[in-house]
Symmetry: C2
């Protein structure tokens, strides 16, 4: 049986050299877009339409859509709400189509769309995600949204955790240095994850804006088995 490879791409800027049309691409932006998207589906959203630019988000708003949009952690004034998972309450999102634009996450989703299946990954759905990937028998490429095309630790740690779970299945392998590095960093961090996350740059950015209340929540494992998937230009449940 042919084996499936795992690769991790640390930044959208490197995506062209990792791109793999045969792979399941998991997009992750732990603090906070992918955690917020998974939460929205837990709370009954029907579709999320990821858009890259604020102009596109504004155009949707003008057509009557509900819009979540932020840049650098700050809600845009034309938007209904921002990027915190706590914003995506059942009262707001149940049965709705919501347009979503964030600093890093939504661009990464659109970039990933060349994959054979594009999934949204967070700790909140990590075991369900790993189970689906192990069963699918395809290559896995994890795309970290990063921060403005820079490497970030929190997405990398998630990539390491997911890679370890998928590699438990014999027919997966990796010779990708980024995957090996992510798994080693996860081993170093997971002993005391909240202690480790203290030092990451994004925690400082969130704290500055009093938005760091979600960090613990975004690192909770397996609150759901739901897996958001990209269909054409919107996210729905697979």
């Amino acid at each position: 049986m042919e084996k499936q490879k795992i690769e991790v791409c640390y930044s959208p800027a490197m995506f062209p050299v990792y791109e793999n049309h045969e792979a399941i691409v998991v997009v992750t932006d732990i603090l906070r877009a992918s955690s917020a998207i998974v939460t929205a589906f837990m709370n009954g959203v029907e579709r999320i339409i990821p858009v890259g630019t604020l102009e596109e988000a504004k155009a949707y708003k003008d057509r009557g859509y509900m819009v979540a949009a932020e840049r650098d952690g700050i809600v845009r004034d034309f938007a209904d709400f921002g990027n915190s998972p706590y914003n995506f309450t059942p009262e707001r999102v149940k049965g709705k189509h919501i347009v979503y634009s964030t600093t890093n996450g939504t661009n990464a989703i659109r970039l990933a769309s060349s994959g054979s299946e594009v999934l949204i990954g967070a700790y909140l759905n990590i075991s369900a995600l790993a189970g689906h990937i192990r069963a699918a028998g395809k290559d896995l490429l994890i795309l970290c949204a990063g921060w403005k095309n820079k490497f970030n630790l929190e997405d990398t740690l998630f990539a390491g955790a997911l890679s370890q779970m998928v590699l438990r299945e014999d027919h997966f392998y990796t010779i990708c240095d980024a995957t090996l590095g992510a798994m080693d960093l996860y081993d170093a961090a997971s002993v005391d994850m909240m202690g480790y996350i203290e030092k990451v740059a994004q925690r400082h950015r969130l704290k500055m804006n009093n938005l760091d209340d979600v960090i613990g929540y975004c690192h909770k494992h397996d609150l759901t088995e739901m897996i958001p998937v990209l269909e054409k230009d919107y996210l729905t449940l697979r």
Copy 2:
């Protein structure tokens, strides 16, 4: 006193978002270009002219220059020799100007040329390098040559080692996740560096071509205090 920041860029593909005209940029390609360049200066080379393309290297050869050129670890037929540090013997290089083109390293050097000073870093000269950077009072940006724009472990580990040495000086700091990650990986690896290096992708590539004899040598610390520096379009000693 203003503090100086340290950043690490894991791939030439991400360089535009890390670029810093005020910084000393250290280019590293541990297996093998930066180790070979430092060795060449240890053995008396006068100048190394890094060129990006094989066409440029060939054009220099036609004008009578001695040329070291390889792609994917294989010496090009028009070249005098390839990329192993063992090729840069005193008999061959002493007093010479040598043109050099490699898969990853030489392009990274040219990319880095926007920095205030561009230095070549390897374990072979790591302490001298750290000493110079600590004394210079400028930001430090370490550019990992990577592998065809992908992340690699061996360059990242070196970046972690150098960052730790420079951070011992109080007036340096880092809030760069890539620097923090590199230092944590170096801590994990340095307990048994040769054991750790067993798993990196580049070791497998070198082994396939029987070129892995240099791996131990390329991880030796402080064989020299020489620091190659980019002047206009060639490397010389600073």
